[in-house]
């Protein structure tokens, strides 16, 4: 790869990252000098040969267009009556006492009005439910009284032998899997990752892997064309938010599938 091409790619990646950061963090979109960047991008255009390069070029242009849209919205907001200089607001907040801030809030707070009411139909449903509910003694049979002859101390080893405590906690197991996944690279095939000599171990690995994704230690990428599933580990656990709805991806880990992977 020529040096110029390499520099061009790095430039596009840098611009992409800048655009994404500006749109996410809500900073002034005019910090992105769109015209200057477009000129620079056009200079690298003749270097591109591979589809990946063109894809990167298109993606950068698309992000730049989003920045132009943000700039338009920014100007619209500045010219609207809603606009107040953030610095002025910050200064004012710092100078006002809690009591003054409370007074301001009280003048512009319109709380939602809600009511609660029990209707006769619901009361009847509750009575019926109560009448049909078996006594707790029937629902949760009492444990047989055990005679306690004496209280003695035990050790962790003894508890492990009796199967009362596990060798490692579930969280430890997940973290161990996370470390393994991170050590395998940036993008690891799901089937490769859970591959094991025994079916039981592979199933256990798949089970723990599902929690890696659910708890935000890694994410999944599905290549529908190649019918491949990849795991991408995160360097840090990602916090869950309620803005994005998670998607469940069912994966069958039948013995035949695992055998295919083992034989491959």
């Amino acid at each position: 790869m020529s040096r110029r091409k390499k520099i061009g790619r790095e430039y596009l990646l840098r611009i992409l990252s800048l655009c994404l950061s500006v749109s996410k963090k809500g900073v002034d979109p005019f910090e992105v000098e769109v015209k200057k960047i477009l000129n620079s991008i056009s200079r690298y255009l003749s270097e591109w040969e591979l589809p990946e390069d063109f894809k990167l070029d298109i993606e950068t242009l698309s992000q730049l267009s989003s920045i132009v849209e943000l700039q338009a919205r920014w100007i619209k907001n500045l010219s609207s009556s809603l606009y107040v200089d953030p610095l002025l607001i910050e200064l004012k907040i710092k100078m006002l006492s809690s009591e003054q801030l409370k007074t301001v809030f009280a003048k512009c707070w319109h709380p939602i009005v809600e009511m609660q009411q029990l209707v006769p139909k619901r009361v009847k449903e509750a009575i019926d439910y109560w009448n049909l509910l078996p006594p707790t003694e029937e629902r949760w049979p009492k444990l047989e009284d055990q005679k306690i002859n004496g209280v003695d101390q035990t050790t962790f080893e003894e508890l492990k032998k009796q199967g009362l405590i596990a060798e490692a906690t579930f969280e430890d197991s997940i973290k161990e899997m996370w470390e393994k996944l991170k050590s395998k690279g940036d993008e690891v095939s799901f089937w490769e990752f859970i591959r094991s000599d025994s079916y039981e171990e592979a199933a256990k690995r798949a089970y723990l892997t599902s929690f890696l994704v659910t708890y935000g230690y890694a994410t999944m990428k599905i290549d529908s064309l190649k019918e491949q599933v990849y795991l991408i580990p995160f360097k840090e656990q990602q916090r869950k938010t309620n803005r994005r709805q998670g998607v469940s991806i069912p994966l069958s880990i039948a013995k035949t599938e695992l055998n295919k992977v083992r034989e491959a």
């Binding site: 607001i89 301001v104 512009c108 939602i112």
Partner: protein, 183 residues
């Protein structure tokens, strides 16, 4: 204007708007349309006139977080409708909130609003830490997120939540803040 048909529809609208049907209060436009018919906005208008006399109003919060003069049919169907108190001066107490909590909420909402609706959590925390102890700032911000006043994304950027958009007059908040005399 309120014929028997509209009176019945208005009663139905009152039930829908006052009694919570979902985890969040309020009703979506399409739900009102399904129960009240195509002219549901006319019913809401009549109800609004009645509510005004007792210090309440129907507040419409649009999905794209903007205030609209002339919303389209689709925007109305996707919007959420709430009943709110129209005159804040009629409220004697602030529902048992601590003064600190209200002050911090006012600061956070005003700051995020001035930053075009979103600001990094760290910036908001820094602002609040000027007046609140560190441990309290995190706890308070999490409380606002739980109650729907603020919203946070995976990049730790804070936005105004659905409750702020329904309950707080943001324009008035900024104006009053700037007008407040400093000590």
């Amino acid at each position: 204007m309120s014929t028997p048909s509209y009176t019945n529809k208005m009663k139905k609208a009152v039930q829908m708007l006052f009694f919570r049907r979902h985890r969040q209060p309020g009703v979506k436009g399409w739900e009102l349309k399904r129960s009240l018919g195509r002219d549901y906005m006319k019913v809401i208008q009549i109800l609004n006139n009645r509510l005004r006399d007792i210090g309440m109003k129907v507040k419409t919060v649009y999905e794209d977080q903007t205030n609209r003069e002339k919303p389209t049919r689709e925007q109305l169907e996707k919007a959420r409708f709430f009943v709110t108190v129209s005159d804040p001066s009629a409220i004697d107490t602030l529902s048992g909130w601590r003064v600190d909590d209200i002050a911090a909420l006012t600061a956070a909402v005003a700051y995020i609003n001035s930053k075009q609706g979103k600001a990094p959590r760290k910036e908001v925390e820094k602002l609040l830490k000027e007046k609140l102890p560190n441990w309290r700032v995190e706890k308070t911000l999490n409380m606002y997120i739980r109650r729907g006043y603020l919203d946070e994304d995976e990049d730790k950027i804070l936005f105004l939540g659905w409750r702020s958009r329904a309950e707080i007059d943001q324009k008035l908040l900024s104006t009053l803040l700037l007008k407040q005399p400093t000590e």
